[in-house]
Symmetry: C2
Subunit: 346 residues, 2 copies
DNA sequence: CAGCCGGATTTTATCGTTCAACTCGGAGCG
DNA sequence: CGCTCCGAGTTGAACGATAAAATCCGGCTG
C-alpha cells in the first residue's frame, strides 16, 4: 500500500519536456533523446547523468511529438462491433483484449472505433491512416468475399486480418484458426473414447465458420471410417440454446442415435446438454458432448470444448502489422479442452 | 457498388499536407487552417477556392500535428478487462462500444489498454496523460472503496467514472445506473400484474451491484405493502445458470411459493426459467419472471428484463470528460423491457 | 487629405521530439 | 607533419499543424 512516491516533478508549469531534462543534466536535447532511444550511442557516464535527471524530473517523452517527427503513430485500430449474438460477442471481446495486450508488448496502442457497416468501417480505416492517427488497422472476422481488404489494398492502408479473404492464399497479413482441424480433433478424441456414432450440431449452410466446422466433422469421420452410416447425424440450426436443445433431442430420439455429439458452439452444446439431461441421461457417461469456443459457460457446465488460441492470434496479427518481415500468414490449430462431458469412462 | 472515386491525391510523394493545399489554392497555410476550423473567418470566395483544393487533393489534417500544437490529444482511454464472468463481460463490451460511439460524436477517439489490476491500471492512466497520448481516462465499474480515483485525483489526471466512489456524492465526473430503481420498477410492474408474493434471486452479500438491486427489492416490496410475509423470498447465490435454477427450484417448492420472481441477472433468470419449466409450469402464465441487463439471451428466451441505458451512460461520461461545464454527475434510471415471461395475463 | 478602423490574409513563432549534418579533439598512419 | 577517421556531442532544421501578431487595403470620418 505504498503511498505516492516522492514527486518533485511539478517544478515548472506544464509537463516536463526533454528540454528540462537536458538543462538539468547539462547536455543537449539530442543527447537526452539518444539516451532514451539509442543508449549505446552515449558514453556510460553521460548516460547515467541523464538517466538520473530523467528519473528525478519524472520525464516521459511526449508521444505525439515523437510520432509526428518520426511519422509512425505507434497505434493500430480495430472496429468494435455492436453486440448481437451471444457467443460471437464474447469472442470479439476476448480478441480485442488479446490485441490490446499484444500491441502493448510491441509498443503499439490500440484504438477502437465504431462503424455501422463494412463500408464505413473501411472508410474509417482509410481516414485514420491518412490522418496519421494509426499506422495500420486490424480487420476482425474476415470472410472470403469480404469487401474490406480490397478497399484497403487499393488505398495503400496497411492491415492484418483475423480470417481469410479470397486471394489470401498468396497474400500475407492474415491469421486464422483452423476450424476444421478443431472439430476433427474432437471427432478423433471421441473415436478414441470408443464412440462410433458421433453426431454434429452445426450452423445453417453458408456461414463460413459453420461450414469449416462441418467440413472438419465430415473429414474426420471419413478418416475414422465412421462416415458410412452417419450421414444423417449431421444436423443444422441457428446458434441458440433452444435450437441446440431441439437438434439434440431430434438426434437422440432416432433409432441408431449417436452416443456422442459435437456442437459448433458452446451455445448449441449447452442446449444439447439440457436435452440430454431431460432424457434422463447423464452427460459424459451416457452421451459424450463437446462444444466449441470454450466460453466461460463451458467451464461452469463442465463441458468439453475447443479453445481458439486468441492470444496467439493477437500476437501474430500485431506481428504481421508491425513486424520487420511482413511475411506473416498463419493457420493456427485450436486446442481441445477435455472436461467431464466427454471424459473417457474409466 | 461504386468504384473507388477518382483519386488524383497521389500527386506528391507522401500524404497531402496543409502546405500542398495552400499552394494549390494560392493562399497561405493559415488560411487553409482557418477554413477548416473557423470557416466564418474567411471570405466566401476564398473559402470556396480552398474547399475545392481540399476536395481535389483529398486533404485530411494530420491529427498528430494538430494535437501537438493545440495540446489536446483528442483521445480518451479505457481499460479493457479480461473476460471472466459471462454477464459482466457482455456489459463491458456494450459499454466500450457506447463509449467509442459517444466519443466519436464528440470528436474523441477511444484508446484501449490492458492492465493486470487496478493499481497498474491507474499507473497506466497517469502515464497516458503525462505522455500526452490521451486527454482523459474512463474508469469502468467503479466501487465505493475503489483505489483508482484517489490516484488519479492526486496525479491531476482528468477522469470520469461509470459507478460511484466514496466521496462521489459531492464530486462530479461520475455516471451510474440506479440499480435499486430498476428492481423497484420490476416489483411495481409485477404488483400491478396482480402478484403479491414476489421472490428475489440475488448475488451474495457484499457485491455492490448485487446489494443495490437487493435493496431495490426490499424498498419496493415495502412500498407495496408486500414485504411483511416475504422476508424469506429473498435468496442469494452466485451468478450462474445452475445457481439460478437451484434458487428458483428452492423457492417454488416451498409452501407459499412466490408467483413471480425477480432476478439480479439474466443468467440467474435463465436458470430460473428452466426450473419453472422443469416443474411443469408455464413462464408468464403460472410464474412471472424478470431478469436484469437485457442480454441477447433475454430476447431469445422471451424474458422480461431491465435494460441499462448504456449508450446514454457513454454519452454522459464523454460529456463529463470533454464537455464545457464539468458539472456532470448523473444517476440514470434503467428501463424495464416487458416480454412474454411477465406479461399481464389477458 | 490625413488618420483610423476593421475585415481578410499573411507572417512569424511554437508545440516536443527526432533526423541529418556538423564541430571538436585525439588517435592512427604514412 | 598532414591527413583521415572515429567517438561523443552539439546545432539547426524539420515533422504538420495552430496561436498570436503583423500587414494590407478599401472605406469612413473629421
Amino acid at each position: 500500500m505504498a503511498k505516492a512516491p516522492a514527486r518533485p516533478a511539478a517544478r515548472r508549469s506544464g509537463p516536463v519536456t526533454i528540454a528540462d531534462v537536458a538543462a538539468a543534466a547539462g547536455v543537449s536535447k539530442q543527447t537526452v533523446s539518444n539516451v532514451m532511444n539509442y543508449p549505446e550511442k552515449v558514453r556510460e557516464q553521460t548516460r547515467e547523468r541523464v538517466r538520473r535527471a530523467v528519473a528525478e524530473l519524472g520525464f516521459q517523452p511526449n508521444r505525439l511529438a515523437r510520432a509526428l517527427r518520426s511519422s509512425s503513430a505507434g497505434m493500430i485500430a480495430c472496429r468494435i462491433e455492436p453486440v448481437s449474438s451471444h457467443s460471437l460477442a464474447h469472442l470479439h471481446d476476448v480478441f480485442l483484449h488479446a490485441l490490446a495486450e499484444a500491441g502493448q508488448a510491441a509498443g503499439r496502442h490500440l484504438m477502437l472505433f465504431a462503424a455501422d457497416d463494412a463500408e464505413s468501417e473501411a472508410a474509417t480505416c482509410v481516414r485514420l491512416v491518412r490522418t496519421g492517427s494509426v499506422e495500420g488497422v486490424v480487420l476482425y472476422n474476415v470472410v472470403p468475399d469480404d469487401p474490406r481488404p480490397a478497399v484497403l489494398l487499393d488505398a495503400g492502408v496497411p492491415f492484418a486480418c483475423f480470417g481469410r479473404f479470397s486471394g489470401a492464399a498468396d497474400a500475407t497479413g492474415w491469421v486464422d484458426v483452423d476450424n476444421a482441424a478443431g472439430v476433427a480433433a474432437v471427432v478423433e478424441h471421441l473415436a478414441e473414447g470408443g464412440h462410433d456414432r458421433i453426431g454434429f450440431l452445426g450452423f445453417p449452410d453458408g456461414h463460413r465458420v459453420g461450414d469449416d466446422r462441418a467440413h472438419g466433422w465430415v473429414t474426420a469421420m471419413d478418416r475414422q471410417g465412421l462416415l458410412a452410416g452417419s450421414h444423417r447425424l449431421d444436423v443444422r440450426g441457428e446458434d441458440t440454446w433452444t435450437s441446440g436443445a431441439r437438434l439434440a433431442r431430434d438426434l437422440l430420439d432416432r433409432p441408431g442415435a449417436p452416443t456422442a455429439l459435437v456442437a459448433a458452439s458452446d451455445t448449441l452444446a449447452a442446449g444439447a446438454l439440457q436435452a440430454v439431461r431431460d432424457l434422463g441421461l447423464v452427460p459424459g457417461r451416457d452421451v459424450a458432448l463437446v462444444g466449441y469456443d470454450d466460453t466461460p459457460s463451458a467451464e461452469v457446465l463442465d463441458l468439453s470444448s475447443v479453445r481458439q488460441p486468441i492470444p496467439e492470434v493477437g500476437r501474430r496479427i500485431v506481428e504481421a502489422l508491425c513486424g520487420e518481415d511482413g511475411a506473416v500468414a498463419a493457420l493456427l490449430p485450436p486446442e481441445l479442452v477435455v472436461r467431464g462431458s466427454s471424459r473417457r469412462r474409466s
